[in-house]
Point group: C2
Chain length 626, copies 2
């Protein structure tokens, strides 16, 4: 095999035909896009773009409002890519009109710094100015690609050119690198689209100067580690500080490592990736253990009730995984992407599609929230909310969910030379460009609820198909046209090399057993506990399904003590698990001499992502191990 050089296959090349993600996209398209639009309209976010706010008026523009808008626009563009929609485009074009009018002569475009504090432009490192610019670029690219309309792209490019001039060429801003990373990966996208090397150079400038800029250190009143400015990025070995900032940075690092084939940056990405997933990630793919700074904490610190686990952070983790599988063909990257996507990312949105979580804890105890809420303000602690809401003051997660869902096809395939990698399984038709041929594949599956994956070739061709064998799968069966297939296995991929004919049927049967997972003994709160998974889905128990059970006290047996069933929950058909488990009989005293009179109980579990859709109640992921 030649040296691996992964290249992405864009969702643009893919049509989801049915199944889990198509349903999810329908929900987002029919409900979420409009729900987010309405909330942003009500709260003045779109109105702010008119630039007519004056001191004393209500709805003062906020530093990150621009990014809320452009993230929503990018998400919408992903849907327009598949289905043009004149009415939605009219909304988009109106917003773009406002941007055009607001943009200053020199290209500057940031509502907050134009309307509220014009004198502070390019002086406030932590204030999301470049972060907003990054999302403007991403939104503009997506809309251009979806519709061919250039106006937003031109606006974005004008602004980016000014930023490049100011930050890189003149170095006249009062800081060197963004307080909140994001623009770096937007710049790589812009470079890829336009071929203009200055955008890659600006991305490199931001990445290379991060953690080594004297200006950044001097113009600073924040915790340097929390914004990943404590060390040059290539020397960062542990995932520290604000989790979304960190993971966006790692994405940009991986982008540049790939573009430049840079060994040192590649190693840094691998080291940081391993630290995230082997030391600082919840079993749900949630990251960021503390709300203080919305941050990573320290190795093995994975609290269940109070962890932050921002929805956006898990979106960013999936994005990082997708870049990493272009660096190395190891199926672990897709495993972790799925953990994040199927658990914490999905948990960020209600089954109804119009309510959101910012924080995604692993356990819920309404007693604590009730107690806390009843106290005077000065005696309250920060706790995750236990019911999703329609909007947040800082509302980055809802439009991010629109974006990730709209472009979920990005997670299906990648290519390297003459090999097609199938990473995350979903039903859809893909048109994949290899070096010397175009391949059309149709995938059919009920994954993640079922382990059968069928791929039909719709083109003839001579290439390798590499199918991911997920880490949770201990047995699988692979056939081509009904016959046991010859394949070689390497780092979690089964490589089928052959001359394919139109109509060939590849069938992969992944045994989807129910597993108990245990955490490293250093995770102090998880000792003695296990989580229950089936495929990439983590399950949880909710009070409403387990009346009278003390959920934290339930001891679960091995995976085969559970059975799976399909049930309707809030209008959605979901897999649920029923398990024979044990629990102590309730006793009145607070303490007693240990005796151990257990009773057998039935524990019902639902997918973690479906929690908190039936009111505020106790929820638990990690159960005692029988």
């Amino acid at each position: 095999m030649k040296k691996y050089e992964g290249k992405p296959v864009s969702f643009e090349q893919i049509e989801l035909t049915h199944g889990f993600w198509q349903e999810q996209q329908r929900l987002v398209k029919e409900v979420t896009i409009n729900a987010v639009y309405d909330r942003f309209e009500e709260t003045g976010r779109f109105g702010a773009l008119k630039g007519d706010w004056k001191e004393g008026m209500p709805l003062k523009p906020h530093i990150f409002w621009d990014s809320d808008i452009t993230k929503w626009m990018e998400g919408v563009a992903f849907y327009l890519q598949k289905n043009r929609d004149p009415e939605m485009e009219k909304r988009m074009d109106e917003l773009i009109e406002r941007m055009e009018k607001l943009q200053l002569e020199d290209g500057y475009l940031d509502t907050y710094f134009i309307v509220v504090e014009p004198e502070a432009r390019f002086t406030r490192r932590p204030d999301h100015e470049l972060y907003c610019a990054g999302h403007l670029v991403e939104g503009a690219i997506a809309y251009y690609k979806a519709t061919g309309k250039r106006k937003m792209l031109d606006i974005a490019i004008r602004f980016i050119n000014l930023i490049d001039q100011t930050f890189r060429l003149e170095q006249s801003a009062s800081f060197d690198t963004p307080g909140h990373q994001e623009i770096e990966l937007a710049l790589v996208k812009l470079y890829t689209l336009t071929g203009e090397v200055r955008y890659k150079e600006l991305a490199e400038f931001f990445i290379d100067h991060r953690g080594c800029s004297r200006k950044d250190r001097e113009n600073n009143d924040t915790d340097l580690t929390n914004i990943q400015s404590h060390l040059p990025v290539r020397e960062q070995k542990t995932a520290d500080g604000h989790s979304v900032r960190a993971l966006y940075q790692y994405c940009a690092m991986a982008d540049l490592a790939l573009l430049n084939r840079e060994e040192e940056l590649t190693r840094a990405c691998e080291t940081l990736f391993e630290n995230v997933v082997q030391k600082r990630m919840h079993i749900t793919g949630g990251v960021g253990s503390t709300y203080l700074g919305e941050a990573f904490t320290f190795d093995y610190d994975l609290p269940e009730y109070t962890t932050y686990n921002e929805t956006c952070a898990s979106i960013a983790l999936a994005m990082f995984c997708r870049r990493m599988w272009l660096i190395d063909a190891d199926s672990k990257y897709a495993d972790y992407a799925e953990l994040a996507l199927y658990n914490t990312v999905l948990s960020g949105m209600s089954l109804s599609g119009d309510r959101f979580f910012y924080e995604n804890p692993l356990a819920a105890d309404p007693r604590r929230n009730d107690f806390n809420g009843a106290r005077a303000e000065y005696l309250r602690e920060h706790l995750p909310i236990l019911e999703r809401v329609k909007i947040f003051d800082c509302s980055c997660c809802p439009p991010n969910l629109v974006r990730i869902t709209g472009a979920i096809g990005n997670y299906m395939y990648s290519v390297s030379e003459n090999t097609i990698y199938a990473h995350c399984y979903m039903s859809g038709k893909a048109c994949i460009q290899l070096e010397e041929q175009e391949v059309i594949l149709e995938q059919r599956t009920d994954y993640p609820y079922d382990g059968s994956v069928n791929i039909e070739t719709e083109t003839d061709g001579d290439y390798t198909l590499a199918l991911r064998i997920p880490g949770w799968c201990s047995a699988y069966h692979l056939t081509v046209n009904g016959e046991k297939a010859e394949y070689s296995a390497n780092k979690g991929y089964a490589y089928l090399r052959r001359t394919w004919s139109k109509g060939d049927q590849v069938s992969l049967e992944l045994e989807m057993a129910i597993h108990r997972i245990e955490a490293n003994p250093r995770v102090t709160n998880l000792c003695g506990r296990v989580a229950v998974m089936r495929g990439p889905i983590v399950f949880c128990g909710e009070e409403v399904d387990n009346q009278g059970l003390a959920l934290r006290d339930v001891r679960v047996g091995a995976g085969d003590s559970f059975r799976v069933a399909r049930e309707t929950l809030c209008g959605r058909s979901l897999p649920v698990l029923y398990g024979q488990a044990e629990s102590r009989k309730d006793f009145g005293e607070l303490y007693r001499f240990s005796e151990g009179d257990m009773e057998t109980v039935t524990l019902k579990l639902i997918p973690y992502f479906a929690w908190a859709n039936r009111g505020v109640m106790e929820m638990n992921v990690w159960f005692l191990k029988k």
Copy 2:
């Protein structure tokens, strides 16, 4: 039996002869008293009594400094009661001189409100003014009783008379009841000493008006529940708010319930007591689960790493227990007093006697403290410190430890009619006044390290001796003069009624087995876990004794898998436990499919109170149950 009417036997009637508490008293006398004095001197507390502080000078007097001084003085007086000491009395007399000079014409005496904010006198409910007055009274009574010197007592009485005039008779203060309870129980002591009914009436005024005063509600900018002013005291059913304030209040309620034989107040005390010990108390007798308001939280909320468990709160719990056993002859009260005293109270002081904990968590993870300490201030959470310090800004606990240790004899006996109750066992000679006779008993024991208790009568007499059978003791043997004794057992006391002759030997053998204790399933973090106890002592594991073990992952077997040994730790001979236990073999990954390859390990445990005397390290009380 006639109706039970418990009466205390004061430590003044008792001479500790050897054993655990005599040693502890020696430590306090030789080290702690002087260590606290030196720190208070350095920090300006004693100097402040001169009343010459002016704005702009350093060492500004603080609202609770007076109470630090008078608590220390009360503690010293308890030692002077046993051994007069001219040098120490000189120090005391000098302080009393300063008080006399500082006291205003009308009797007012509070350093802060005389020197710093004279205009604010009697207007600031939360500001410890009456709390300081209470401790002045208690210190004065103790010094008067120890030495017969009246000056401090007269000073205190002048101040109390002013308070009575202002608060009760004229009701001219801008609030009705203390923001921090304490004066109520001091007033009962003053009433008991002087027979002056106005002091009892003032205590009643404060207790009866609490939670029903419009003035208190209007003159308020704090959380009413946190200062137990949300409900009239007789309607309070759960232990809420600041734990020391709460427990001092319950002590005063019990005092008045006893004095007035009031049924309603008695029931309220019993209800509150049960709520504390059956819903809101750690196995170490620690209470107050949150640093936010230093407060009780809600039922079954007993976090291990972050609980507050203020040393003073457990002292107050022991004080409450001692009052409750005068209300009802149930040995549970002495059981809980011992839990508090032998675990959290002792944990409040280093084995060296000169360093103190304010907070006493049930588990320590230095990784969290290190991470937290390295962050910028605005990103830090409050965490208990993991090493004792010489002084705190708010230094109530150190002098409180001097007080409780000096008067520990209070916990040995009580009487009711012709019955002598032996509660907490310790070696000492007691002279006990019954209705028609004086009884002298000499008790010899190595309790709490050994379950043998021998009591020798030094007087003839006809009375009942009621010996406490601790709740943790499942087998015991009782003899008189070597012969199996006839006794009746009731609510944890063995009643020996006979005509005693000088020289009679009572021997009580309490089987002191090692037990695993489990907590109610509703305590979410303790499910699957057990604590290890021997007698009233809770044991813990520290990193230094268990190198390489992941303490939280250790599974301990039944009590008989442990053996006890006596070892020297920091110069003190202490019982330690060695147990055969199990732990998972360390593995590298963060998560894995549960397998369960256990290895047998030896776990070494030391008494909880001895933790954190050998540096900062991991500590754990609740282990997994094998």
